[in-house]
Amino acid sequence: MIVNLTPTEEQQLVEDSIRGLLAGKLPVDRLRESHSHGGAAERAIWNDLAELGLFGLGLAEERGGIGYGLPEEVIVAKALGAHLASPSIIAQMIAVHLADDATRPALMSGEARAAFVNAFDGGAHLIDGEGATHAVVVGQGGVALVAIDTLGTAEPVELIDETVAVAKVSTSASLSGGAEAERLSLLLATYMAGLAGATRDMAVEYAQTREQFGQPIGAFQAIKHQCADLALRAAGAETQCYHTAVTFGRGNDDGVEVACARLLAGEAALANAKQNIQIHGGMGFTAECDAHLFLKRSHLISMLGTSKAEVRKRILA
């Protein structure tokens, strides 16, 4: 098996169109305004996303999907991460795979909407749930798609990431593993690789333009080498996600590959977010600079579903 990780022309088109849409409609700085929080900006373009074919991109044509595969889905997931898009878009992308024939068309058209529920020992968090008809419940045991009204009463709570709207709920959904759980885990990993890549780019741009001691700070090795480390981590996470997507179902141990992607991307997203703040100095510590948003989102997503301890166990499984 020989793997080529260079995007095909078709994949490049997929990437260009999602990036184009996101650049226009979901620029990161939208989150400086609280009225864009909680997935509001995403809900406003939900139909555009559906029309772009995002919901069903990797679903087989015979099941009504676009007929691409995981490689195209991860391309989208990475772009979503780079734009700090609401996790609900990933939830919807997964929901179509989990849905039965009756529900699927409404999810694909965007008429029905999904949001994540993170089910953990002692509670559950519904994330950006406004307007959702379905919940993609994720936890140690895997994933399940349920109707939103199966969740207990929702009680708002603020998490570390104030740009998402969260409510405590309860759920008794029985989660299951398997290929769709792995797909979800890989999409989340790639979303985090997108976070890691975006903070690398932010840091590099700042290092090129910000001057101190009469030099752009990127000329100083202390900053330059930090940027190199950002690039190393982002590249490792991204290529592992892509490699896993391409080889999925082709004889590798997918569970191990996905778990590696998840661990690498989670660490890269967090470490890069912290380093990006550090490189931005005082500015990076303010709420006015976008650097902190990536840190907060990294914590949120790295704790969605499988825990780090569980991920590491799967790598050695």
């Binding site: 509670g123 709570v157 570390i160 101190q212 001691f213 202390a222 005082g282 709420a287 006015e288 914590h299």
Partner: protein, 384 residues
């Protein structure tokens, strides 16, 4: 290397402990805003009334005149009694006050020092500028002499509690033709002077700790210049802490407590396995190292008047370790620990601790200082 034991110190410790037990505020300290400032000022006044204000300041300026050992005991007991952080009084007590004592004239001392100790006036620092960052000598904020006043124009940034302070220690460029380190003056600026405009800056934690200040033809009496006009760099560089490294003791003890609490909570919740145990043991060992480094720094302070550059080692260890400890809590306690508003509020503590290692000397600047001033490595090819 020895244990210092004496009946006098034991008695002093007991006195401190008793007073703190009776006086440390029971109400939680507000996180920010005027309520926080008022809390800090009231607590300062209470210490003043108890005879504890300016623990290490010389007696002639109203301080307690405590020795290094007594100061250390004060800070240890203070931390153990959960005494509040000095917060919006920090600059006045640990920087502006000592600078005035060292370099101010008698009139300045009489005017400003009692007001600090009594909790009547707090101070902020106006050193950093948007375009200068870590490079103080590049500051541009301009002051022109006009009669018996300075007229200041420019801006300062990262001024901690600038929006809540009464006075400011302000560095301005009084002669742009002199070399970079010359031509700077150290001035007392009343924040209520016309032309001073303060824009609070929200931190990523959601709290508002600092501000940017804009100066538009701000007239400051020449009598507010501390030291010589154009001699401000020297004034700023010779500011001596009287605390001799003891000021970091509360932070170190606090971090140690936090780590032990986290370990206890992990045990109680059944989260302690070989993997988390290995991580927690490493953190606890690093906390022990921080404690020992702090003790070593204070030990040097007992015999050396001028604090050495080794303080950067303590500060660097603290800055990096506090991020690791507070970050690990989020990982250890899972999604529930991401919720805001709990006790402790893990995300708040975590987000706040990024300020260490950025404000008051970045980790990079500290590593430069350790390399150059502790180890004697040559300065870099360019500016530093």
């Amino acid at each position: 290397m020895k244990i210092i034991d004496s009946a006098e110190l034991d008695a002093f410790r007991e006195e401190v402990r008793d007073w703190l037990a009776d006086n440390v505020p029971k109400d939680p300290r507000p996180h920010d805003g005027a309520a926080m400032r008022d809390f800090d000022l009231a607590w300062q006044r209470r210490q003043y009334d108890g005879g504890w204000a300016g623990i290490s300041w010389p007696k002639e300026y109203g301080g307690r005149g405590a020795s290094v050992l007594e100061t250390l005991i004060w800070h240890e007991e203070y931390a153990r009694a959960n005494g509040p952080v000095s917060g919006s009084m920090f600059v006045a007590l640990s920087h502006a006050g000592p600078t005035l004592i060292n370099s101010g004239n008698e009139a300045q001392k009489q005017r400003y020092l009692p007001a600090i100790l009594k909790g009547e006036e707090n101070w902020c620092q106006g050193f950093s500028e948007p375009s200068a960052g870590s490079d103080l000598s590049a500051l541009k904020c301009r002051a022109v002499i006009d009669g018996d006043h300075l007229v200041v124009n420019g801006t300062k940034i990262w001024t901690t509690y600038g929006h809540l302070a009464k006075q400011q220690e302000l560095l301005v460029r009084t002669d742009p033709d002199l070399p970079r380190h010359k031509g700077i003056s150290w001035v007392i600026c009343d924040m209520e002077t016309p032309g001073v405009e303060v824009r609070p800056i929200k931190a990523m934690s959601g709290l508002t700790h600092f501000a940017q200040t804009f100066y538009d033809d701000v007239r400051i009496p020449l009598s507010n210049v501390v030291g010589e006009v154009n001699g401000g760099w020297k004034v700023a560089m010779t500011t001596l802490g009287f605390e001799r490294g003891t000021g970091t003791v509360p932070h170190q003890i606090e971090l140690s407590k936090r780590t032990d609490d986290m370990i206890a909570e992990a045990k109680a919740k059944g989260l302690l396995d070989d993997a988390t145990g290995a991580d927690l043991a490493t953190l606890k060992a690093e906390v022990a190292a921080l404690r020992s480094l702090t003790v070593a720094q204070i030990s040097r302070g007992m015999s050396e008047a001028v604090p050495g550059a080794e303080g950067n080692i303590v500060a660097l260890q603290f800055a990096e370790l506090t991020r690791r400890v507070n970050g690990y809590a989020l990982e250890l306690f899972g999604p529930a620990a991401l919720e805001r508003g709990g006790h402790p509020d893990y995300p708040l503590e975590y987000l706040e601790c990024f300020k260490w290692g950025i404000g008051g000397g970045t980790n990079e600047i500290r590593r430069n200082a350790i390399g150059e001033r502790v180890l004697g490595l040559p300065k870099g090819p360019s500016a530093r």
